[in-house]
Structures are given as C-alpha cells and as structure tokens.
C-alpha cells in the first residue's frame, strides 16, 4: 500500500457489521482499515494517511458525534461519514451541521454507500491538497525577516514606497531593497500576485483587516 493510497477507516462496535462492510468496500476496490471503537481509531490510525472515516453514531464509550469533534481538531481531519441502525433526525442534523459528509442507514442501498464513500474520499483528497499547498506557501513566508514582513504588510494594503518609508521612519531606497528581497523570496512577479499569495497563506488574517 503506497502512502498516497486513500484509506476508508470503518469505526463500529458491531464486529459482524465491521467485517461485512469492510468486505464490501474492499470488493468494491477501496483500501479499508477497521476499528472496534472511536478511541482505538484515534490512537492507532496513521496520522498522515489520506482517506475518510465511516463511523457508527451509536457506540459505547466515545460515540460518533464525539469522534467527529475530536477528529476536526486533529492535524489531519478526515471527512466523516455516519452510519446508523435507524434514522435519528436530531443526531443527523447535528452531524451534518458539523460538516459530516453524509448520514446513512446501515442498510442503505449499496450504490448510495459506495457513492458516499467516493465523495468523502474526493473531498478528503481536495482538502489534503489544499492543506499541502497552504503549508508550502507558509514555508516561503517563513523565509521573510520580521522587517520584510512589516514592509509586506504595508504593501498589500496598497501603500506607496514613500508612505511606507514615512511610516516606518526609514529611507525610501531601503523600502525598495526590502520589496526586491520579498518578491525574490516569494517567487512572485507582480504586486497582484503578491497580494493573492499573502491572502492564500493567511499571514495577516488576524492582525490586518482586509483593505481594498
């Protein structure tokens, strides 16, 4: 199994259903790992493995909804797909609001189950890619010095070199040198590109409110 192969994690306290569902998904071409409880899943899973989670809502100990919360706070929040013995509106509403991929009855038609798993895996892959890209961009910004970050903050707010020099109490030529260093390190060509990248990396999200 290659590291990039997505894994369907099935979490259910009911051993016979666990085995049956695992067989069906394997026969349908998925890579499957099974866990008898939410706690076992959280401690034994491969932190970096891509894929999705297929969990029973009602389990002794940590139930499906608690698992969803714990998973969302982890570094690798896999999309979650709920299974239930019988439709329970209150928990399904809550699960969907918390971002569950789907909420299915255990005896739902096979195609519905397979489609839902596929959608969850697609979404997992997309989110994983987005997270990887964000990490790469952040790595670029990490190369900037504090002074360069300060200048960048003014640039993305649309200030002119002269204004930046005035604000920071440095020479206008020094500002130009900083800007050259920034564009080189971040490998961008234009101010527009710089702004988009900064936005994508979310560098100033907390401190600087968006300015047109």
């Amino acid at each position: 199994v290659s590291i990039t192969e997505p894994i369907v994690h099935i979490v259910d306290d009911n051993a016979s259903f666990l085995a049956a569902a695992s067989r069906l998904l394997r026969a349908s071409g998925f890579t499957v790992k099974t866990f008898r409880s939410a706690e076992i899943f959280l401690t034994q899973r491969d932190e970096n493995a891509p894929g999705c989670v297929l969990a029973d809502v009602q389990m002794p100990g940590m139930n499906g909804l608690e698992l969803q919360t714990a998973l969302a706070q982890s570094l690798n929040p896999l999309p979650i797909l709920f299974l239930t013995g019988h439709g329970d509106i209150a928990s399904s509403v809550r699960a969907m609001r918390e971002g569950a991929e789907d909420f299915l009855e255990k005896r739902a038609p096979k195609t519905q189950l397979i489609d839902a798993v596929k959608r969850a895996l697609d979404r997992g892959a997309r989110e994983r890619e987005a997270r990887a890209r964000q990490r790469a961009v952040r790595a670029l910004f990490d190369a900037l010095t504090p002074r360069e970050l300060e200048v960048l903050g003014h640039v993305v707010r649309g200030k002119l070199n002269k204004q930046i020099a005035g604000d920071l109490g440095i020479h206008e030529r020094t500002v130009k040198l900083h800007r050259t260093a920034i564009t080189t390190k971040l490998r961008v060509q234009s101010v527009a590109e710089l702004t988009r990248l900064t936005d994508e990396a979310g560098v100033f999200k907390a401190s600087a409110p968006a300015c047109p």
């Binding site: 259903f17 085995a19 049956a20 069906l24 394997r26 013995g85 255990k106």
Partner: protein
C-alpha cells in the same frame, strides 16, 4: 222574689243557655254526638230545676202530685242522655247495661202517666217550711215501694259510668276516666240528697238539680276543652302556614341560586307547566304553549332515545320513580346546551302515575370542562400507549437492524467477489458463515423479546375471571360513556379460577375491549355495544369472548390480524393484537378472531383452569 226561686230559676236558665249553645255546636257539626247528648242532659237538668221549683210552690196535694209526675220526664231523659254521653264520649261501657237503664227508667215513669199512680208516694201530704228566707212547700207521706225500681235504675247508671270509667282508666286515658268519676260523684250525691225526702219524710225540698248542675258543669268543661283545642289547632295551623311560606321562600331562593328551571308534567292530561327559568333554558317565550312532543324535538336527536328511556323507566317505577338524565338541547337558534334534569313520579292511591315533577339546569360549562378533561386524559392514555409501543418497536427495529445490515453487506460483498475471474472461495465461505451467525443473532433478539414476557415478567396465580372482567370494565367505563358504548358482561360467578398474570391479562382484555369500541366508530346508537362473556371450554380451559356489533373484519385482514405492524387505524401501531397473542400463548392459551353471524367481530381466548380448581 226570694233566694230559692232566684237560684232555681238561674240554674234552669243557665242550663237552657248552655244547652242552646251545644245544640248549635251539634247542629254545625253533626258528628259530635257527645255535644248532642250533653245538650239534651242540660235541657233535662233545666227541666228538673223548673219541676223542683214548681214543687216548692205547689200548695195543694193535687198540684204537688202533678209536679212530681212531670219531674220524672226530665229525670228519665237526663239519665238516658248521661248514659249515652258516657258511651260516646268515653267510648266505653256495656251496651246491654245502657239499654237496661233505658227500659228500667222507662218502666218506672210509664205507670205515672198511664195509671195516674205516683211512683214515689202512695199517700202524699204537703207542708210549708222556711227555706232560704222563703216559705216553700215540702212533701211527705207514705213512700211507694215502686220507688225502689227507679232508684235501682239510677244505681245502674252509676254502675254503667263506673264500669266505663274503669275501662277508660285501664286504657290509659286518665283524664276521661276522671271525668267519668266526677259525673259519678255528682250523680251519687244527687241520689243521696233525694233519699231523706223520699224515704224518711225529711222536711226539706227536693234539691237534685243543683247537684246535676255540677254534673253539667263537669261535662261542659270537658267538652269545651275540645273547643279550646280546636282553636289551639287553628293557631298552630296559622304558625305552620307562616312556616310554610318561609319554606317556600327558601325553596325559591334555592331554585334561583341553583339556576333551576322547574317543570311539572301532568301525565293524565299530558301537558307541561314550567317556570320562567325553565322556559328561558329551553328557549320558550313566557307565554308560549308547551307540548311534550315539541319539547322532545328540542332534545338533541342522539339523546332523544336516552331521555325517553330514562323517563319510561321512572314511570315504570325504577329507582323509586326517580328520574335523572343529562342531555343536549338544540335551541331554535341552533345553539347547543347541556341540561341536567332530575325529577320524580308521583302516583295516586291506586299506584297509577299521575304527575312528574322535576328541575332542570344548564350544565354546559361543566360538560365542556369534563369533555376537555376527558379529551386530555384520552390523549395522555394514547400517548402512553403509543410511546410504549414506539419504544418497543424502535428497540426491536434497532436490535434486528444490526445483523440484517451485516447480512446485506456480506451478501453484496460476496456478489462482488464472485465477479472475479478467480473468486477467493475462502473469503466467500467466511462470508456465508458470518451471514448464518447474523441470522442466528437476529433470531436471538426475537427470542429475547418473547422471553421477556414468557419467563421473567409472568406472575401466574389463580384468578377469578369475574373480578378480572369487572376490573377492566371499571377502567373503560368512562371511555365507554364518552363514546356512548354499552358494555355488556355475561360472566357466570361460579366459573373455576384460571391461572394467569392479572396485569397482563387485564392488558389483553383492555386491548380487546378498546379495539371493540374502536370498531363501533360510526355505528348507530343501538349497535354501540361491546360484550364480554366467559364459559367453560371442556374440563381444562375457560374461554373468554369479546364481541362487538361493528362491521366485522375484512377477510384479507382477518388472515393477518395478529401480525405485528398490521393496523387498520390511522394512529395505530399494529402491535396490540400481536402482544395480546404473545401474552395468551405464554399463559398456555390461544387467541383467535372471527366474524359473528350477527355481524361484528369476536375475539376469543382460552386460559387454563388453575390447579385444584375444577369445574
């Protein structure tokens, strides 16, 4: 004019006056015979007094003889009238004695007039003495032995009165006995006073009438007590009349305060009188004529039969002729009003009902509250039943869903594996083994549900079917009344006890009866009945049947009626009969359904007779 003349004249006139009064009393009230006899006795006393007065002033022997002869008449009448007065007033005495007195005294007087014999003296002489400052004539001579006959007659009167008084005394009427005794006393004294004159030639005038005046006074006093009592009664009547008016005022107050409308139905002429409050209640104008049929038309069509029935029952004498019913009115303007009516049938001497009186009042508000409370109670009961069934059903569904889901997924996986060019047979074997295990698991769930009833919660004891049926009847009574369903029960008291769990069997019976009542929705009033009956079924079982007069069970439903989740009711769970059958089978009995020939469905179940209780 001198004292003797004055006194004797006064005695005579006083007696005459009293006599007149009592003649009038008798004339106005012919039934008071005592007054008549008293009046006669008084007149006789007056006559005696006048005769005595004549004797006092008769100077010649011839005149004296005439006076004595005449005196015998008032005396005869006096003794006879006293005798009959005592006979009537005391209501005692011997009749033969009374007649003997009449005959004897009559015999004594008769020769007087027929033969010109003086009964008292054979030879008569007259003399003059001073009496009360006046010169009066006294008689003397040889006494006629025949006198003894007359005086024996007086003794008989004394005996008669004495006998009557003793009887009266023994009877307990002391007062009248004393009256008799007093009469006797004056009679005796009068007799004694005459003895010296008649037998011993005492030189005094004959003075019987003053003593007889005492006699008259006693009798008169006694009779006047009756008059006094009558006036007292009149007074009492006035007091009770005012009490009656007070009572009437109080009743009126109660009627107004209670918002009662009063009605009186004359059963002979078949018309109705009703108070204004009643007219307002039933929507009649104060002067509008009332007719029984018209009033009945204002009763809600659904309640008319019930009202007629309870009136007919009261007329037939049920409940001591009391009538009580609650029904709806539909007023001419279309409004509906609830009326509570109570009444009573009154009968004449021959037991024929002649009049029915009653009071009606508006109970719409109370009925509305009752209805709301009832609705609420039913809702709660229904929610209770539904939620219990719901829990049971959802628990069952969840437990069975797990193995079913596993079976489904395994089967789907197996299908996919088999599509491979070289299927992994070991995997497929494992799948089939798992499917078998899950199937068993599902079976266990069902067994466990059955076991819940069978082993753990069944508390079987000897049970009396009659009390079981009565318990459940009490539970559904209100429900039945609201739905206007009549619950008939025909359970012999001598059925042997059965063996069973009271609570569970109550649940079964309750379920079957409620189902029966549900089946009557839309049925007419006569058909709205559910019957429960029980009988021996062979020597080992008792069969209990719950039947309704509804439209029966459709053939396709009848075949599956005990299947879980089969229901014909919009809000039904379809679990009731399934559970009933499980309970009855756990008891070792059977539960089945059928349609009755007369229409409607009947559910029958059997229960084993308890050990030791044989038929």
């Amino acid at each position: 004019m001198h004292w003797a003349t004055i006194v004797w004249s006064m005695i005579a006139s006083a007696c005459a006056t009293v006599a007149l009064i009592y003649f009038l009393v008798w004339y106005k009230n012919r039934a008071s015979r005592a007054a008549l006899y008293f009046a006669i006795a008084t007149v006789s006393t007056a006559g005696s007094a006048l005769c005595e007065l004549w004797m006092m002033h008769a100077d010649t022997v011839g005149e004296q003889t005439a006076a004595i002869r005449l005196l015998q008449v008032p005396l005869l009448v006096l003794f006879v009238s006293i005798t009959w007065f005592v006979w009537t007033y005391l209501g005692a005495g011997r009749l033969w004695l009374a007649w003997t007195i009449v005959v004897l005294r009559g015999l004594y007087v008769l020769p007087n007039f027929v033969m010109g014999q003086n009964p008292s003296f054979r030879e008569l002489s007259v003399d003059h003495i001073q009496f009360l400052g006046e010169t009066v004539t006294v008689v003397g001579g040889v006494t006629n032995p025949f006198l003894a006959v007359g005086q024996f007659g007086v003794l008989l009167v004394l005996a008669f009165v004495a006998d009557a008084s003793i009887t009266t005394w023994r009877r307990g009427d002391r007062r009248k006995a004393v009256v008799g005794g007093t009469i006797q006393f004056f009679l005796a004294v009068g007799l004694l006073s005459s003895l010296p004159v008649l037998w011993a030639n005492a030189r005094v005038p004959l003075m019987i009438s003053p003593f007889f005046l005492g006699l008259v006074a006693v009798m008169g006093y006694e009779l006047s007590r009756d008059v006094l009592r009558a006036s007292q009664l009149l007074e009492d009547l006035k007091i009770s009349e005012s009490g009656l008016r007070e009572t009437e005022a109080r009743i009126n107050l109660a009627i107004e305060a209670g918002d009662f409308g009063i009605w009186i139905r004359d059963l002979v002429r078949d018309n109705i009188w009703a108070s204004e409050a009643w007219r307002a209640l039933f929507g009649y104008a104060p002067s509008e004529p009332l007719a029984v049929d018209d009033v009945m038309q204002r009763v809600h069509p659904d309640d008319r039969d019930m009202v007629r029935r309870s009136q007919a029952m009261a007329l037939a004498g049920a409940n001591g002729g009391r009538y009580e019913s609650e029904y709806r009115l539909v007023l001419p303007d279309g409004r509906t009003r609830w009326i509570a009516s109570r009444g009573r049938v009154e009968k004449d001497g021959t037991g024929r009902p002649i009049v029915m009186r009653g009071a009606s009042r508006d109970v719409t508000a109370r009925k509305r509250i009752e209805h709301e409370t009832q609705g609420l109670r039913q809702e709660i009961a229904h929610v209770g039943r539904v939620s219990m069934m719901g829990q049971l059903a959802s628990g069952l569904a969840h437990e069975i869903n797990q193995p079913l889901a596993a079976i489904l997924r395994n089967a789907e996986a197996a299908e996919l594996f088999l599509q491979d060019a070289s299927p992994d047979l070991d995997e497929i074997r494992a799948i089939l083994s798992d499917i078998r295990a899950d199937d068993e698991r599902a079976g266990h769930v069902i067994d466990r549900m059955r076991g819940l009833l069978k082993r753990q919660t069944l508390d079987a004891r000897p049970l009396d079917i009659l009390s079981l049926v009565n318990d459940v009847a009490a539970l559904v009574r209100v429900d039945a009344a609201v739905r206007q369903v009549k619950l008939d029960s025909d359970v012999p008291a001598d059925l042997p006890h059965v063996r069973g769990d009271r609570v569970h069997l109550q649940q079964v019976l309750l379920n079957l009866i409620l189902n029966g009542m549900d089946a009557l929705n839309g049925a007419s009033v006569e058909d709205r009945r559910v019957s429960v009956s029980a009988r021996l079924d062979g020597g080992q079982m008792v069969e209990i049947a719950v039947g309704d007069a509804g439209s029966g069970i459709a053939a396709d439903v009848l075949a599956r009626i005990f299947d879980p989740f089969l229901t014909t009711k919009p809000e039904g769970m379809g679990m009731g009969l399934a559970i009933c059958r499980t309970i009855i089978e756990a008891h070792g009995g059977k539960l089945w359904a059928a349609n009755q020939h007369s229409g409607g469905a009947v559910f029958r179940f059997t229960l084993p007779i308890a050990d030791g209780a044989s038929s």
